[in-house]
Symmetry: C2
Subunit: 335 residues, 2 copies
DNA sequence: ATGTATCACTTAAACGATTACGCGAAGGAG
DNA sequence: CTCCTTCGCGTAATCGTTTAAGTGATACAT
């Protein structure tokens, strides 16, 4: 591998001069700089990130913590898009990304130790068990951190607009004349709580009262539970005209239950969902959902983190909210 | 950050001794070793991967090249599982992974240069444009390389068993009495060619002849094109009893075309697919497919690469084939 | 002529680790 | 008692880069 030394030798200058020329420092003569740059190019010189990182204490590497709570499975759809966002934004700024885990060599350690080991410049917490003390340790460290969809004290976070999304969905349904709305929600995480808040707030806005038995807890991404619950809802003496589903996969279960009952969407009953991943667009009927801009969630997170890394003093603690958009399908009928 | 020097000072030994103690070298007294290990532990010492890499020229980092040919989108389902496989296997061996791209700092370079910049120990080529000269450059370099689903000269590759998978699917359909089989395949890549070879081979085995017009090129992961082609197939005077689809998403298009035609699966027509991602299991009817073990594709690739990195001389150039399995659904009827 | 500023470079230390080599002491063999 | 091993540890170089401080030359003002 050709190093700065080789160039120095061949150019008859010191390594310091080469380094400065390559880094665009001002105290290098124009002619010398040209010679160095040209030779570097000719020899196919490539800087050594390792050596640079050792000296400067900046790795241009950002850590991504993603612990799948459900251990693999469908949740990846959300994550892979977020990851793509992080990745592309990071690349744009010359950063690479490293997955944070608990191994170094053959030992087990904490997430923070792994970060120190690799010398990452900062961390995006994309998904994690927020009660895990190791996550807390990481959050309370002196490393720059940005979290996605979770708020920590004194830490920047990027949130999807679960509350507003729900509000918009209710408004949309209401605008089509729906007043009898049922909701199946996911597990009671922070995300779900926000969505429910938005739901209730918007219902109130339209004077809609939702009976207890129309508010049901399902399981995210699980068609089976949703199918069962939908069946129960449809069997009630007083039946809703519109059902809210927690996500696209759940809707598949709901759709089947509706079909089983011999009903047609949106003629006999309406449905709205959440997420609106590409999958939902290619099924028929196409679900009307709130589309989360998950990629943007990733790009913003990376952007905020890099800002924090590069301008540590001007950091403003903020909670950025990434708004989604209503994605009309064909599952909401007029009343 | 506490370094080897701090430990050395506090223990009254040299840094060499500390290093050797921490690395389990033999020429350290038992008592000294204990003292060092204990103190390291007490001070929360963590090795600095950067410094180590600089000195040893081993980063314990493996590069992953993934260039999405379709630029984002659905193909990620396949990739995210492969990636998970690579990631978990790498972690198990104490390696981290780095995505290979074309940026270093704010400059554009080649994949190989990026690898050199980061000093990765090897590369898994998970997906790429194999005609790209930069990919060729990478493959012909002196870095350890493993490719997934593509063969290069003198390079280890891990292949999914497209040929065998297809054979098994044909055998299955044939065992249910099907003799009139149509196939919609994806773009004519290496993967597709293998599948077609398997398809024809197995057809021959059962004396099945497939008319030209029943062999159709569609687009991977694209319901629309598949819907159109399926419609055409169904409109032919002589209609197949079973249609092969290139993947789960395509099948959604096919399913819709079948429904449009007023036909029922599997009563009126049968269908088989490929991939068998979780999605296909939650739709109804459940598609009968060949399930690729994509995660294993990733773990094997990582495993082979690490083997190559750690034992460069005992490397056997091989083509490992990861077998999938038939996943019965409800889309193939008896004839 | 003297002092001073600027320019273009060099020197040398440092980042945190690894490792070839050397060296003194202890112990055993002869 | 001398010689040779073995053991346990230290010395010092090194990986490739950055950067504070220094240096000599030139130019300019006074």
């Amino acid at each position: 591998m050709v190093s700065i030394k080789d160039i120095a030798k061949r150019c008859g200058v010191s390594t310091a001069t080469v380094s400065k020329a390559l880094n665009g420092q001002p105290d290098i003569g124009e002619e010398t700089r040209e010679r160095i740059l040209h030779l570097a190019d000719e020899l196919g010189y490539m800087a050594n990130a390792t050596a640079r990182a050792l000296k400067t204490n900046r790795s241009y590497n950002i850590g991504v913590l993603f612990v799948d709570p459900m251990h693999g499975g469908l949740a990846h759809e959300f994550f892979s898009t977020v990851l793509d966002g992080i990745r592309s934004e990071a690349e744009k700024h010359g950063y690479d990304i490293t997955f944070i885990n608990r191994n170094v060599g053959s030992r087990q350690t904490s997430y923070l130790q792994h970060c120190r080991y690799r010398g990452v410049d900062g961390v995006v917490i994309a998904s994690a068990d927020f009660n895990d003390p190791m996550v807390t340790e990481l959050v309370q460290s002196d490393l720059p951190v940005v979290t996605i969809d979770h708020i920590f004290n004194n830490r920047i976070s990027v949130m999807s607009d679960n509350m507003q999304g729900m509000e918009e969905l209710v408004r949309y349904a209401a605008s089509k004349g729906h007043r009898k709305i049922a909701i199946i929600h996911g597990e009671l995480t922070g995300v779900t709580r926000n969505r429910l808040t938005g739901f209730h707030r918007a219902c109130e806005e339209f004077g809609i009262t939702v009976p207890e038995e129309w508010i049901r807890e399902g399981v995210f991404h699980d068609p089976a539970s949703c199918r069962r619950i939908t069946k129960e809802l449809l069997a009630m003496p007083e039946r809703p005209t519109c059902i809210f589903f927690p996500d696209d996969y759940s809707w598949i279960g709901g759709m089947n239950a509706i079909r089983d009952a011999g009903l047609k969407v949106p003629r006999d009953i309406s449905a709205v969902g959440y997420d609106g991943i590409p999958l939902s667009r290619i099924m028929s009927p196409v679900l009307t959902t709130w589309r989360q801009d998950t990629e943007k969630l990733g790009t913003i997170a990376a952007d905020r983190l890099i800002e924090q890394i590069e301008h540590p003093r001007t950091v403003i603690l903020d909670r950025e909210i990434v708004t989604g958009s209503l994605q009309e399908g064909g599952t909401v009928g007029e009343i």
